[in-house]
């Protein structure tokens, strides 16, 4: 009897899982499906579940669109600069918190830093809009780089703190005993060990900056325009050219997804904020 009931629950569980998988996968599938169609086929009813006339023209159109190209370029500059800054400064503080928690300001300081990340961005947006406006810095790379840097820094500090914390102090001390100066010991022993973690921090910071919409929407938008601002209004004349919009979204979301798939092991840990040791 119990065997029967168990298999019934099992079946229900499998059905549930499949439903969820379809729910998650279908939008992505539809996005890809649409991006390879001609606009005529996109508008056809009933829709085709596989492109009848497979075409790359939406992608070619997007690539040839100067606004799309410029937005990708802007996004790249801003996200790469901000990532380098946050990982560099964050590693310094993370190392200090991990090795000398008492002298570095302790748990309270580290948690205060984390809470900055958790604060609703809307709280910071208006004052910064005001100050950048007065300094004539709106619509520049600088304004977004500063904001993204600020928001990435707490995450970078925390993750680096956890990764450094995982490396036993004895390793460094062994290097001291072997005659290394602390500075060299750090570069010879600690840094190589923490590198995989660092890579994941780089990726998380970069993805945040690459994906961000709200700050960009308020602080830039004319001379500088990142792609998240462009996509919602892209190819929307009298009626929206969904195939081109979808092609653009595919192009823009591929880098973070490919990076995620390559680095999934580190990323999963970083994403759950290092809450769960893996």
């Amino acid at each position: 009897m119990s065997q029967k009931r168990f298999s019934l629950i099992r079946t229900l569980g499998i059905i549930f899982m499949i439903t969820y998988i379809v729910f998650i996968a279908f939008p992505i599938y539809w996005q890809l499906n649409t991006s390879f169609k001609h606009i005529g086929e996109v508008r056809k009813i009933p829709p085709t579940f596989f492109p009848k006339h497979f075409t790359l023209s939406p992608y070619i159109n997007v690539m040839n669109n100067p606004m799309a190209r410029k937005s990708i370029y802007d996004s790249l500059i801003i996200s790469i600069t901000t990532t380098l800054l946050s990982v560099l400064i964050g590693s310094l503080a993370g190392y200090a918190f991990a090795r000398y928690p008492k002298y570095a300001g302790g748990e309270n300081l580290s948690f205060w830093m984390l809470s900055v990340r958790m604060f609703p961005p809307i709280v910071f947006i208006l004052p910064f809009f005001f100050i950048f406006n007065n300094l004539g810095l709106t619509d520049t790379y600088f304004s977004l780089i500063v904001m993204y840097f600020t928001f990435n820094l707490p995450l970078s500090v925390w993750l680096m703190m956890m990764f450094f914390g995982d490396i036993p102090r004895e390793l460094e001390e062994a290097a001291y005993v072997d005659g290394y100066k602390p500075f060299r010991a750090f570069f010879k022993v600690t840094l190589p060990l923490v590198l995989p973690g660092m890579v994941s921090v780089v990726m998380l910071c970069w993805i945040f900056a690459w994906n961000e919409f709200l700050f960009a929407n308020v602080l830039v938008g004319t001379r500088v325009k990142t792609f998240p601002l462009v996509i919602p209004t892209f190819a929307s004349g009298s009626s929206i050219l969904w195939n081109q919009v979808m092609a653009f979204t595919v192009i823009a979301m591929l880098p973070p997804i490919i990076l995620f798939i390559i680095l999934r092991r580190y990323m999963i840990r970083g994403l759950s904020l290092g809450v769960v040791k893996g």
């Binding site: 569980g13 499998i14 549930f16 899982m17 969820y20 729910f23 998650i24 939008p27 992505i28 996005q31 649409t34 009813i45 009933p46 829709p47 400064i89 310094l92 503080a93 200090a96 002298y103 570095a104 300001g105 300081l109 948690f111 830093m113 958790m118 604060f119 609703p120 961005p121 809307i122 910071f124 947006i125 208006l126 004052p127 005001f130 100050i131 600020t150 820094l153 919409f213 709200l214 929407n217 792609f227 998240p228 601002l229 996509i231 919602p232 919009v245 979808m246 979204t249 823009a252 979301m253 973070p256 997804i257 999934r264 999963i268 994403l271 904020l273 809450v275 769960v276 040791k277 893996g278």
Partner: protein
């Protein structure tokens, strides 16, 4: 002798110097906005029209009696109840099912990667994608509904706009609790389950008395993270509905953004961000509490 003294100096001040840059950056970017918006929330100020004029508590008074703000708070509760609530239940269920039903490591990883992809996609793309899927006339969801002879839905009408936002949000963020709970479940010791099994506990009892209680801190953390994101929920609103129609899908943060960054009414907007900020501080403090608990238990284990 001097070598020893040097070491102590290094130990005492180098950590401080290492933390200093991060501290300066974070301190300066938080202290200025705090003071500025506190000042502005007691003033009437539109940078296009003129200089700040002190108005006392008038801004707060106005907001608390403003029906649009009240509605947005109601929407926030709907979002928390249905959006975050479903994300949590769905995330926990799928995470535990994934662990129980699928034994192959490869398939598990494959599904995890699939589930996490929505989180990696830029929110503005998520919004755009769902606007496309749910488009009342040409969207595939309505097309499928009509093919199945079901009534089509006006997804961006005043009744469904908020629900549509919530659906997109569930799609994007269910993976977060899912992932946290899944990693937690994986790290629970197998032998405890064997003990419970030998002790005579049924599957249901094991779930209720062993698995869920052992994961409760992680569940709380996942819930709080999602809770805090509710205050950040602006991007998809902007892309999908612009708060409309007629404010039917406005959330407090979006309203503050609208009033401040679109209408330049800095005083009212600042007061609103203060109210939101105070609300989020409570949530953040809860988060810190649970986080410390988890970190502590890991240090023991």
């Amino acid at each position: 002798m001097s070598r020893k003294g040097e070491d102590i100096l290094v130990k005492r001040y180098v950590p401080f110097l290492l933390v200093l840059p991060a501290f300066i950056v974070l301190f300066s970017v938080t202290i200025f906005p705090t003071i500025w918006s506190l000042y502005m929330s007691f003033h009437q100020y539109n940078p296009i029209i003129g200089k700040p004029v002190p108005v006392g508590w008038k801004n707060f008074n106005y907001i608390l009696h403003w029906d649009r703000f009240q509605n947005s708070v109601v929407h926030l509760f709907y979002y928390l109840l249905f959006g975050v609530g479903i994300e949590m239940i769905l995330g926990i269920t799928v995470a535990l099912l994934l662990y129980e039903l699928i034994k192959s490591e490869k398939i598990r990883l494959l599904l995890l990667v699939l589930f996490i992809i929505p989180m990696m996609i830029p929110p503005s793309i998520v919004g755009t994608l769902w606007r496309f899927l749910l488009d009342p006339f040409s969207g595939v969801v309505n097309t499928i509904l009509s093919m199945l002879h079901l009534p089509v839905v006006d997804w961006f009408g005043s009744k469904m706009a908020l629900a549509s936002l919530i659906i997109a949000d569930i799609w994007e963020w269910t993976s977060l609790p899912l992932m946290i709970i899944y990693s937690g479940r994986v790290s629970l010791p197998q032998s405890v389950y064997e003990a419970a099994w030998v002790d005579g506990a049924s599957q249901w009892t094991i779930l209720r008395r062993i698995t869920l209680p052992m994961l409760k801190e992680l569940i709380a953390i996942a819930l709080i993270i999602r809770f805090m994101d509710a205050y950040k929920f602006i991007d998809k609103v902007t892309v999908m509905t612009q708060g409309g129609p007629g404010g039917a899908s406005e959330l407090p943060s979006y309203l503050a953004y609208l009033v401040g960054a679109q209408q330049f009414n800095m005083g009212v907007a600042s007061a609103m961000t203060w109210i939101i900020g105070l609300g989020s501080i409570i949530v953040i403090m809860l988060f810190v509490k649970f986080m410390k608990k988890v970190l502590k238990s890991q240090k023991i284990a």
